[in-house]
């Protein structure tokens, strides 16, 4: 039985990989490997020790296993109070499979995008007027991040607000050849053409 700390203080300076410990049996190595493989959490040396035959030292077995695994697809890592086997870090990229999980745009973003699509170029104030709701900065940024909208100059009114329009990426996303492929907005909303938008009426301009 070994209750003392493992033999790290023993000689063997020149040979870093040599095992100066008594002897680690092949059976102990197998058992350690199987236990580490099957365990769902880090294996503390004490847990391995309880499986080993008299005279075998868990710490030495683990060290030997670590050597044996060098350069293999799997490495021994000490973590969280125990040892675990992990795939070699340099292989992770090759093994990782990317699964595309497309997201939906939040409702506000989708509506803002629709307003820009049908009323472009238009200012943020106009988008808010047309939707009847304020437009959060994050929403506009989300549309920018997706590359769906882009600035299209400035409106020549006091404050020179940015005008927004859709991008070629927008056409691609919605399978449009050109903006003319969008249904006319009178077809979507009855009375749309007759009632002029407040924002476009001179008296309602926020700056004026």
């Amino acid at each position: 039985m070994m209750s003392a700390p493992p033999d790290e203080d023993q000689p063997g300076e020149e040979l870093p990989k040599a095992s100066p410990e008594p002897a680690v049996s092949a059976a102990a190595l197998r058992l350690a490997e199987a236990l580490l493989f099957a365990s769902d959490r880090p294996v503390a040396p004490a847990r391995l020790q309880s499986l080993l035959a008299e005279g075998e030292d868990a710490a030495a077995v683990l060290r030997e296993l670590g050597y044996a695994l060098e350069g293999r697809g799997v490495v021994l890592v000490e973590t969280g109070g125990g040892f675990v086997l992990r795939t070699a870090p340099d292989l992770a990229a090759a093994l990782t499979r990317v699964v595309e999980v497309p997201r939906r745009l939040p409702r506000a973003a989708m509506e803002a995008l629709a307003v820009i699509a049908w009323h472009q170029p238009c200012t943020r104030a106009e988008i808010e007027e047309i939707r009847g709701a304020s437009l959060a900065q994050a929403t506009l940024e989300a549309l920018l991040d997706h590359g769906l909208v882009a600035p299209r100059g400035h409106k020549e009114v006091p404050g020179r607000p940015t005008l927004w329009g859709t991008t070629p990426r927008f056409l691609e996303q919605f399978g449009l050849k050109s903006l003319r492929d969008l249904p006319r907005r009178e077809e979507l909303v009855s009375g749309e053409a007759v009632a002029p938008l407040q924002a476009t009426q001179p008296g309602d301009s926020p700056a004026g």
């Binding site: 493989f37 990317v98 999980v101 629709a114 049908w118 919605f174 749309e192 407040q198």
Partner: protein
């Protein structure tokens, strides 16, 4: 072999077939060679003994007992006395077949049971590593959703806007009189009444009808004053008007 089930607990068996198989095994290893009559006797003996101890024997055990007793009586009869439809040899064969099948399945279960089982004898990876990375940068949106979003946004905006009755631009009789007076001088001859309406582009139906009515009233008023001539050749036909040709044509109007 004579009495292998002296301390029988029937509820240790999964039904009568199970017991029969056990009894048959005690007779011989090869089920094809067992004595059906001996098997029946053993079964009936077991049931009899069990019935002495437990009255609540299940029906299936008793039904099997009755059927076996009947089968035994047929087997013991001379061959010619049994009808072809109830050939006792065939029935006995069917019983041994069933026993053989149950035996096979029992061995099959044992075969499965002695294989190293996952999670009991062999173990898989305790902490599998997730090799999937979700790429959520993609966008799920189509034209239908875009249209729907536009409609939803506009509908909400319209619902929010306070109701404002649309201002009616009604063409008054005064307007019509002014327009008629202004335009009439340029007309060389008869022209339909509709030509004297205001620019039609942005009138809706109601406004258009109102303008027509006021123009007609205005034209009647002017005709009364002798400033223009009116003519309608037939009922519901076009109403024509022109600048009055003073005095000499006044009779024509009255005639019309």
């Amino acid at each position: 072999m004579t009495d292998p089930v002296l301390h029988l607990r029937l509820d240790g068996y999964e039904g009568p077939l199970d017991l029969l198989l056990d009894l048959a095994r005690a007779q011989k290893l090869d089920l094809a060679g067992i004595s059906i009559v001996a098997l029946v006797d053993q079964y009936l003996a077991v049931i009899d003994r069990a019935r002495g101890m437990r009255l609540e024997l299940q029906a299936e055990w008793l039904v099997m007992a009755a059927w076996l007793a009947w089968l035994k009586s047929r087997l013991l009869l001379p061959k010619e006395e049994a009808g072809p439809e109830e050939d006792p040899e065939a029935l006995a064969l069917r019983l041994t077949d069933r026993l053989a099948e149950l035996e096979a399945m029992r061995i099959g279960a044992a075969w499965l049971g002695q294989r190293p089982q996952l999670g009991r004898d062999v173990f898989g990876r305790g902490a599998p590593e997730n090799l999937k990375v979700e790429d959520r940068s993609g966008l799920r949106a189509d034209l239908a959703a875009l249209c729907q979003a536009y409609v939803a946004g506009r509908r909400r905006a319209m619902a929010l806007r306070p109701y404002r009755p649309k201002p009616r631009r009604l063409w008054s009789v005064q307007d019509a009189l002014a327009r008629l007076t202004q335009v009439l001088g340029d007309l060389p001859s008869w022209a339909v009444l509709q030509r004297f309406l205001p620019e039609a582009g942005d009138l809706d139906t109601v406004e258009r009808r109102a303008a027509l009515a006021s123009t007609l009233i205005a034209s009647l008023e002017m005709a009364r004053g002798g400033n223009l001539d009116l003519r309608q050749d037939r009922a519901f036909g076009p109403i024509l008007l022109r600048k009055a040709e003073r005095a000499e044509k006044a009779d024509d109007v009255r005639a019309a």
